[in-house]
Symmetry: C2
């Protein structure tokens, strides 16, 4: 029996999973490698960090998603290199896996713009552990504020700073402000949680820079109404566990969250290629790297230009489209379909929520804001969630949160017990 | 204005919370101290450990439960001592809290019978972190088995040993066996998860020793049908990360879970009293300690004798009844109700599930087993869960798990990424 063409996909995010999905019935063997056992629906991760959703509502075991695909082998393993000559991927535990076609879809983490030491003080939000760590810090800060008798300390504990006013930053501050203003006040005795200061810090001139200016202005206004202080146009210059400094202004704050900048995974290093400034691997119009048409790099870890020359944004739909494209191209090379030509990114629209009742949406042909945009956002996210169980569970959590004003997952876990000041920063 | 009587309750488990609840409208100030921010429904914790339920379905923030009780102050803090003369409780961060009445309801952890070094290899199940740590170990073992090419290693990875055949041990092995036999087989390619060996190890002569003998026999038979190997009558003599030894037989196993024995919290030490063998504080018929009628010790950390001289078991209903009793007694001392006399424990019955379709129940006047007992068990647990949100969420998770045969929370989190062998044992 002839050996089948072997596609190795590294990374079970939106890009990798779309590629595996669309390679169904294409007569290939597939190995999917991920260091985690689950696919994560990152667009709703901020709701785990802010205690609206439990972790398992937005994550699914990869091998469960692929249970009906006997030709797909799922490995939970960490990749630490690629040998393009030998056509093998090496794993951290010493094993190696040969490929005929390799798809690297290993994503990105946050960039601290050369200040990696800020990560301890201001963790980012990319994994379930990041989300539960941020949830722990935030809730612990309220607990510690309730206990302290020092007014300066209390003020610092009740100051929450989110750096970066892209969709994630906007979504985080919206929920944190609502938590402080509406969910928690009745539950604390010594503090008034409405005194909490929620800051959205942005180096650029406006929030949601990728959106049209009127939607940015609406978002800033809506956030201010929720009690958020928006500080655009000033970069963070220092950050530690006690305070965050923007320009010359030092603001005592015990809880900072980093939602700015992107640093790609090490795919370029593995391939011995020069990465761009954000660490991304440059790829050609077919999403392959130079001299190696059998190596694809897609999603947040790739630097892709659209047919119009503009860079493709690092968003979930782009990663998905790239995964689907690679599947089509690989199939066509094996004689299972026509050649799709160069990759073309189709921008479907941008969405961001503001608290639990408003959102902004820009579909190019129409712009929405407020309640209607929120419904569009909600329906779209439920639609793109994988699996009936999770759809029902998320709708139930949202329904509960909206009708009762209560968040369902306000748990402080995995931290040291009885911490007075939330210094638990290890993202493990 | 006269200062109100101040009741300090340490521990927000079943006992502490019942006490706080029943002190409503009794004209007392209450401070509830817990090192965690949440109350945990421990009877369903094994379902988190075995990936059926997400963490937030069985835990609620204490201050949320008490939001409508302005006279209750909730503190997230660790207690490290009591001064019965000064009538103060000292906290780990240096603060202290004065009381008029003190209720210690600080629970218990597992006892390793003098072998505390076994804890790393065979963690117990008392907290949410314990549950996610066990879930991680168990799921990681299947992942590592899928990857290894060494048959001996694979066998050890697919051997799961639960020590202690009380209700928790029985419930754990039932679900683990079902996972290996029914949920996972379709998802793995290199291994047949049905080869997994699930051991229930019990030093005593039979499983569920607290139940009538015929229900024990039924349980052992039902477990065997599920594929569990029940080994009663032999004690564990050694345990490390590579293997577990019962009598002289060394069984290579990478995943062991400890569900035997109980070691009470340090309440007796705080009070300078001599504890019993299990570390519990002896209390009199009014649940108070010698010479201090204002100090109550209740629940798993107390050694209580019923009016018939028999010891009161360390179960949730007993802790609840004790908390309710203390509330009544404190109220009567303040002239708000009649004196309840000595504490009387009313045993309502014992329940244990076997996998997801059977259970045993002993109510004294009637014994049940099989499907009917399972329904009684399910309805009782839903009834005793706190809050509509959680009831609906748990029913949904169970419904999903029963109809599809899939567990909803099969996530490996908080471990090191890309682990090949599940040696992640830190319970933090």
């Amino acid at each position: 029996m002839e050996r089948k063409h072997h596609v190795v996909v590294v990374g079970g995010g939106f890009g990798g999973l779309a590629c595996v999905r669309d390679l169904k019935h294409k007569d290939v063997e597939i190995t999917l490698i991920d260091s985690r056992n689950h696919h994560l629906f990152q667009p709703l991760l901020y709701q785990v960090a802010t205690s609206i959703l439990p972790t398992s509502d937005i994550a699914w075991p990869l091998r469960h998603l692929l249970r009906d695909r006997p030709e797909v082998n799922t490995l939970m393993a960490e990749v630490n290199g690629v040998d393009p000559q030998a056509k093998t991927v090496s794993l951290a535990d010493g094993d190696s896996v040969s490929y005929d076609t390799l798809v690297l879809a290993t994503g990105a983490r946050h960039s601290y713009f050369g200040h990696d030491d800020w990560e301890t003080a201001a963790p980012g939000l990319k994994t379930l552990e990041d989300a539960t760590a941020i949830r722990r810090r935030m809730l612990s800060a309220f607990e510690a504020a309730e206990r302290t008798s020092d007014p300066e300390e209390r003020k610092a504990l009740l100051t929450f700073a989110v750096v970066g006013a892209g969709p994630t930053g906007v979504e985080l501050v919206g929920i944190i402000a609502e938590l402080a203003q509406r969910v928690l006040p009745r539950e604390f005795r010594s503090i008034d949680t409405r005194d909490a200061r929620v800051l959205l810090l942005e180096a650029g001139p406006r929030v949601l820079a990728a959106f049209p200016e009127d939607l940015s202005a609406y978002t800033e206004h809506a956030l201010t109404e929720l009690g958020v202080e928006v500080r655009a146009g000033t970069a963070v210059t220092a950050c530690d566990e006690e305070s965050i400094t923007i320009g010359d202004e030092c603001i005592p704050s015990r809880t900072a969250i980093w939602a700015a900048g992107v640093k790609a995974s090490r795919a370029a290093q593995w391939l011995g290629l020069e990465a761009d400034r954000a660490g991304r691997t440059p790829v050609g119009p077919e999403l392959t790297v130079e001299d190696h048409p059998e190596i694809f790099v897609i999603g947040d870890t790739a630097s892709v230009r659209n047919t119009d020359g503009k860079p493709v944004p690092g968003v979930a739909p782009a990663a998905k489209q790239q995964g689907e494209y690679v599947a089509r191209l690989v199939a066509s090379r094996l004689g299972k379909g026509r050649n799709p030509g160069p990759f073309v990114y189709k921008h479907k629209g941008s969405l961001a929520t503001i608290g639990r009742k408003a959102a902004v949406a820009d579909f190019g042909w129409i712009k929405l804001r407020g309640t209607l945009a929120w419904w569009v956002w909600g329906v779209a996210h439920i639609y793109f969630l994988i699996g009936t169980r999770n759809r029902v569970a998320v709708v139930w959590s949202w329904f509960w949160s909206h009708t009762t004003g209560q968040n369902s997952a306000r748990l402080i876990t995995q931290g040291k017990q009885g911490i007075a000041v939330p210094k638990v920063t290890q993202v493990e």
